[in-house]
C-alpha cells in the first residue's frame, strides 16, 4: 500500500460516515437518530482536522471547530430540547420496511460511485472514492427523508445531507472559503430554529407530528 497514513485515515473516516448514514436509515428511534447525527458531526470534525494537518491549510481548523461547535454540540442539543418539549420519544414509523430501504441504499451507493467515477478521474488519487462516498451519503440522507413519517427525522435527514456536502467539500477540494462556510453554518442554524417553530405549529394544528396528516390540507 502506497497510500499515506492520513489518506488511509480519511478513507476510513469516509467509510464510517457512510456506515453512519446506513445506521441512520436503519434506526427506528429518534433519540438514537440524533445521537448518530452528533457522531457524524464528530467524524466530520476529525476528518477536517486530518485534512487540515496533512495539507497544512490552517483555515480548515477553524471550520473543524465550527463543525464541532455547531453540529456536535449545538444542533443535537437543540434537537434534544425540541423532542423533550414535543414529548416524542417513541419509535420512528417508516413508510417502507427497513431492509428494503437498505437495499435501495446499496443501489444508491453503486449509482453514486458510478456517477462519481468520471469526477474522481480528474482529482488526484488521494481523494478517489471520497466523492462517491460523499455523494452516496447525501443521497442516503435524502432517502431517509423520503421514507420517514415524522417531521423530526426529516430535519435530521436534512442536516446530515448538509454534512455529506461538507465532507465532499473538505476532502475533495480541501475546503471552501471560510466566509461561505460561516454562511452555510448560519443558514443551517436558522433553518433548525425555523423547523422547530414549524413543529410546534404542525403539532398544534394536527395534534401529531405525523406529516401524512398534511395530506388533509389539500382539500381546503
Amino acid at each position: 500500500m502506497s497510500l499515506t497514513l492520513s489518506t488511509q485515515i480519511i478513507n476510513l473516516l469516509a467509510a464510517i460516515l457512510l456506515l453512519i448514514a446506513f445506521a441512520m436509515i436503519s434506526q427506528r428511534r429518534i433519540l438514537s437518530l440524533i445521537n448518530l447525527f452528533a457522531l457524524q458531526g464528530l467524524i466530520l470534525t476529525v476528518s477536517t482536522c486530518v485534512v487540515a494537518y496533512s495539507t497544512a491549510q490552517h483555515h480548515l481548523y477553524y471550520s473543524a471547530a465550527l463543525t464541532l461547535l455547531l453540529k456536535v454540540l449545538m444542533l443535537p442539543w437543540l434537537l434534544h430540547r425540541l423532542i423533550r418539549k414535543l414529548n416524542i420519544k417513541w419509535d420512528v414509523e417508516t413508510l417502507i420496511n427497513i431492509p428494503t430501504t437498505m437495499l435501495a441504499g446499496i443501489a444508491l451507493v453503486i449509482f453514486s460511485f458510478d456517477l462519481a467515477a468520471p469526477i474522481s478521474q480528474l482529482t488526484d488519487s488521494v481523494t478517489r472514492g471520497l466523492i462517491g462516498i460523499a455523494l452516496a451519503s447525501v443521497l442516503l440522507s435524502l432517502l431517509m427523508m423520503l421514507t420517514r413519517r415524522k417531521a423530526v427525522s426529516q430535519v435530521v435527514g436534512f442536516l446530515s445531507l448538509e454534512n455529506g456536502l461538507f465532507f465532499a467539500a473538505t476532502s475533495a477540494t480541501h475546503g471552501m472559503p471560510l466566509v461561505v462556510e460561516l454562511g452555510i453554518a448560519l443558514d443551517v442554524l436558522v433553518a433548525t430554529f425555523i423547523f422547530g417553530i414549524f413543529f410546534f405549529q404542525i403539532r398544534e394544528t394536527f395534534d401529531s407530528l405525523d406529516i401524512s396528516h398534511m395530506e388533509t390540507l389539500k382539500d381546503d
Binding site: 497510500l3 431492509p99 446499496i106
Partner: protein, 319 residues
C-alpha cells in the same frame, strides 16, 4: 526436515485443539460472571460451566420414546463440527496443518452443517416447541450465514486468500494499513456473532421457557450427556466466533509454527483478548434489550447488507 516441520505443526495443532476444548467453558463462565456483576449479582463463579458439564455427564440420559438415531447422533456431530471449526482457526499459531483442509468457506459450511443437524434433531421428537425452535433457528441462519460469508469475502479479497492463516499473516505481519471495508465487516460480524451464539438482542442463553426462545427451544428434549455435549459445543462455538473475530480484525500476537518462544506470548495475548472480549460481550448484553422475534430478520438483514456494503466498498475504494 520437512517431516520434522510437519510433526511440529501437528503437535501445535493438537495443543491448540485441546487448549480450545478445555478453555471454551471458561469463556462462557467468564461472560456469565461478568453479566452477573453487571446485574449486581455475585455470580456463580468462573468454573460453573465445568461443574454443570460434570453434573450432566454423570446423569442418566432420558430419551423420548420416539427419538430416532439422528437425535442421538446429533450431539456428537455438533461437538465434532465445533471442534473442527476451532481447529481451522489460527488461535495461537498460524500455519496449522489442518487449516489447509478447510478454508473460510468450509468454515461457514461447518457451522451450517452443525446447524442443520441441530434443527433436524429438534424436529425429531415432534413437539411444538422443537419445530418452532428449528424454524426460528433456520430463519436466523439464512441471513446470518451469507452475512458471515460476505465478511469472510471482504477479508479474503484483501489478503488474496480464503485460508485463515494467510488472512492473519496479511493483516498482522505486513505494514499497518487501515481498511475502510473492514469497518463495515466488523460491525456486521459483531451482529452475526450475537445472533449465531444466541446472545441477547436476538436470543437469551440464560433462560428458557420464554416464548421468544430459539436455541433453548431446540434442545428442550435433550438431557444428561447429550445436553452436556450440546452445551459444550455452544461454548466452543462462542469461542470459535470470538477467535474468528480476533483473526480477522485484531490478529496481533498469534505465533508462527515452530516458534516455541512465541507460544507463551501467544497464549497470554489470547487470554487477554478473550478477557476483554468476554467482558465486552457481557456489557453489550447488559445494555441491549431483547428484540421481538419479528425484528430479528430486520436485524440480520441489516448485518447482511452491511457485510455486502463492506465488500462493495472494497471493490470501489480498492481497500
Amino acid at each position: 526436515m520437512d517431516n520434522i516441520n510437519l510433526a511440529l505443526a501437528v503437535v501445535f495443532q493438537l495443543c491448540q485443539s485441546l487448549l480450545v476444548v478445555a478453555l471454551a467453558p471458561l469463556l462462557t463462565g467468564w461472560v456469565g460472571q461478568c453479566r452477573a456483576w453487571l446485574q449486581n449479582r455475585s455470580g456463580p463463579g468462573l468454573l460453573q460451566p465445568y461443574r454443570t458439564l460434570h453434573k450432566l455427564f454423570l446423569k442418566e440420559a432420558l430419551l423420548a420414546d420416539n427419538a430416532s438415531p439422528l437425535f442421538r447422533a446429533t450431539p456428537y456431530i455438533l461437538f465434532g463440527c465445533m471442534w473442527l471449526a476451532a481447529a481451522i482457526i489460527p488461535i495461537i499459531a498460524v500455519d496449522l496443518p489442518f487449516s489447509q483442509a478447510a478454508d473460510v468457506i468450509a468454515l461457514v459450511g461447518v457451522f451450517a452443517l452443525a446447524r442443520v443437524f441441530i434443527a433436524l434433531a429438534a424436529m425429531d421428537i415432534g413437539t411444538s416447541f422443537g419445530s418452532m425452535g428449528a424454524r426460528r433457528e433456520m430463519l436466523v441462519s439464512f441471513l446470518a450465514e451469507p452475512a458471515l460469508l460476505m465478511v469472510f469475502f471482504t477479508s479474503s479479497l484483501i489478503s488474496q486468500s480464503t485460508q485463515l492463516p494467510h488472512i492473519v499473516e496479511t493483516f498482522s505481519h505486513h505494514a499497518f494499513v487501515l481498511y475502510p471495508s473492514l469497518a463495515f465487516a466488523s460491525i456486521a460480524f459483531l451482529m452475526i456473532l450475537l445472533a449465531e451464539n444466541a446472545r441477547i438482542p436476538v436470543d437469551n442463553p440464560a433462560t428458557h421457557l420464554e416464548l421468544t426462545m430459539i436455541h433453548e427451544a431446540m434442545i428442550l428434549e435433550y438431557s444428561a450427556r447429550h445436553l452436556a455435549l450440546i452445551e459444550w459445543a455452544s461454548s466452543l462455538k462462542l469461542f470459535a466466533y470470538m477467535t474468528i473475530g480476533f483473526a480477522l480484525f485484531f490478529p496481533y500476537g498469534i505465533a508462527e509454527v515452530g516458534n516455541w518462544g512465541a507460544l507463551p506470548l501467544a497464549i497470554v495475548a489470547l487470554l487477554l483478548k478473550l478477557t476483554a472480549a468476554g467482558a465486552g460481550l457481557a456489557g453489550l448484553e447488559a445494555m441491549l434489550a431483547k428484540m421481538r422475534i419479528f425484528r430479528v430478520p430486520e436485524f440480520l438483514g441489516t448485518a447482511f447488507l452491511l457485510a455486502v456494503l463492506g465488500l462493495l466498498i472494497h471493490f470501489l475504494l480498492g481497500a
